[in-house]
Symmetry: C2
Subunit: 344 residues, 2 copies
DNA sequence: TTGTACGCGTTATCAA
DNA sequence: TTGATAACGCGTACAA
């Protein structure tokens, strides 16, 4: 298909009148080089239009200059609709943006990998062990995922975004979800809310359960030992449904904490439909500070998630571990802040 | 770093008691194999835990099973803030989702590449010619970008998402932006709007100028030869500002077409501030049908952009071209539809 | 400081 | 059908 054979190290050497090894040294900037030749070689490189072949180089150096972004999904979601929703959500893009902000500077590339089955996970780890990439950033979606352990057991440098559901000796960055939920609780209380409820995400994903726990603890500490909680699945529609049933069971509700902005959007719709004014009749606090929060009306008071920073830190952590595999396993937890807008 | 040497083809051959070549044949499913050995070899593969090394394989086959997603940006945006906005926008994620929906099935991986300088573009093309990836999907952001031509001249299989600003013999998928704008015009007219304006994107990007042209043509055909147009840059804030000045200059406005949903969001804010009710006093039509459209209040009537489908088609096109480089250069144009919600 | 020669892990060619 | 053996393009001991 590509017709003309591309120039190789050998060709450059011939043009420069030196050995292949010398050209290699010049290109890789190795010290012991006669400045004379240095120039001659670079000249030959220019004339031939030589570009190093990264594949061949990686094969011998065992370094690819590539990091894998692994999205580990559960089997049940292996069909398109879910994945499509996942990508359309700003979450994915913000992670990529954060990662690239540090990887790009280092000339490191990002390779996207999606695995939805145990078999896929096994293949992935095999490829990574073979040096397909120098390491992996892992976005683990299933509540309980064997991948983190598989990676550590395979000695693959890896960093998780979001803590693992089960304890595994692996680096990760995470958000203090419980603190964020506590901020929401405090804000609602300070506002004077008396009957406070919550719409949570799935119980088995760590980020979700942490938000529930943090919210409960904070309220309990201020005398609210019992909190009505309705469970959604982080989609807009589930938020709308949850709000409806929550309202039906607790008509006197005057404040609600929704575990993410998307569900909060649905909640707002349900409240509008029920004729409740936000925030006058009922205050709403979201979570994530996604773009949906500003678009909503009233604009959402929400908990800001510094996702780009977290992803950037994950990238730095991974690069460090690749450099020094013996580095102590570490985790970095980010503190969220409350962003006050109109809804609470 | 990785301590234990991984099993290689040689190791499997030794265990199976055959030659390396035979093992290779079995693994790649080549016909001429004694069924007896077939079994012996697979057994040895299992016992050794062998995983083929994709790098080594690619080096000789000249196929990587990887496609590059290239984001070609202009130099001025080379700093982080812009890129960060780009990734946070659902646009990027939807493209990735669409691409993956077809690539994943074929076991093809996606490698993200961002280039912001001419030097970077040159390096990129060099790497691609070297077989770093089998082909490239290109997201070209600058109004005029040398990359498409560089790719065709380098004989690199590539497909653009969005037509090139200058004619280049390269495959691309695009949206009928002019038709979309015409739909918006028709809708506003049908609604009874008499004084219609537009908020456009930057004049030099094709998608943007096509929308302006289509809108103008459709209105002219219905007797509205002159349309006040204010220019924004596709951000929310620019939409808000544009709406303000548009309104100041044309107080009697009763309908406006905004070239993307994000700017429409800003426009809604400006209108709210100006005390105009939407859609009663003034109807608003957006473009993209992004998640912002549903989140907005009133929810945006907008032009739906089947971005996932377009990206998927781009992936199919690329795969086909990789398979047959001599294939006729082709373009696929998608027809948009109007989604009616509350704002118009 | 430079060149020779080997190895990285595969696939592909050609005899046998 | 199988097995040597030569590529693929490069880095790097080792020797000169």
């Amino acid at each position: 298909m590509r017709t003309e054979r591309l120039p190789t190290l050998e060709d450059v050497a011939r043009v420069a009148g030196v050995s292949r090894a010398t050209v290699s040294r010049v290109i890789n900037g190795i010290r012991n080089v006669d400045p004379q030749l240095h120039e001659v070689v670079w000249d030959a490189v220019g004339r031939t239009g030589y570009v190093p072949n990264r594949l061949a180089r990686s094969l011998v150096t065992r370094r690819t200059g590539t990091v894998a972004l692994v999205v580990s999904d559960s089997e049940s979601h292996d069909d398109d609709p879910f994945m499509s929703r996942f990508f359309a959500d700003p979450y994915f893009g913000r992670v990529v943006g954060g990662l690239m902000s540090v990887l790009r500077r280092q000339g490191v590339q990002l390779a996207l990998q999606i695995v939805g089955t145990d078999d896929g996970r096994k293949r992935l780890v095999g490829d990574l062990r073979n040096g397909q990439a120098d390491g992996a950033i892992v976005l683990s979606l299933p509540a309980v995922d064997p991948l983190p352990r598989m990676l550590t057991e395979g000695d693959v440098p890896a960093v998780l975004i979001g803590r693992p559901a089960e304890p595994v000796p692996i680096d990760y960055v995470d958000l203090a979800n419980d603190t964020g939920a506590a901020l929401a609780a405090e804000h609602l209380l300070t506002r004077g809310c008396q009957r406070i409820g919550m719409i949570s995400g799935p119980a088995d994903v760590p980020a979700s359960s942490d938000r529930v726990a943090g919210f409960r603890r904070a309220l309990a500490r201020r005398g609210h030992g019992w909190v009505p909680i309705e469970t959604g699945n982080f989609t807009r529609d589930s938020g709308e449904a949850a709000m409806r049933t929550l309202l039906a069971a607790n008509p006197e509700l005057d404040g609600v904490f929704v575990a993410n902005d998307l569900m909060a959007l649905g909640a707002l719709a349900a409240l509008r439909e029920a004729g409740r004014r936000v925030p006058d009749d009922l205050a709403v606090v979201g979570f994530d500070d996604s773009s949906a929060a500003v678009a909503a009306s009233p604009a959402l008071t929400t908990i800001r998630h510094p996702l780009e920073d977290m992803a950037a830190e994950a990238a730095r952590l991974l690069l460090a571990r690749i450099e020094d595999p013996a580095m102590r396993v570490s985790s970095v937890i980010y503190e969220p802040v409350l962003v006050e807008r109109e809804s609470a």
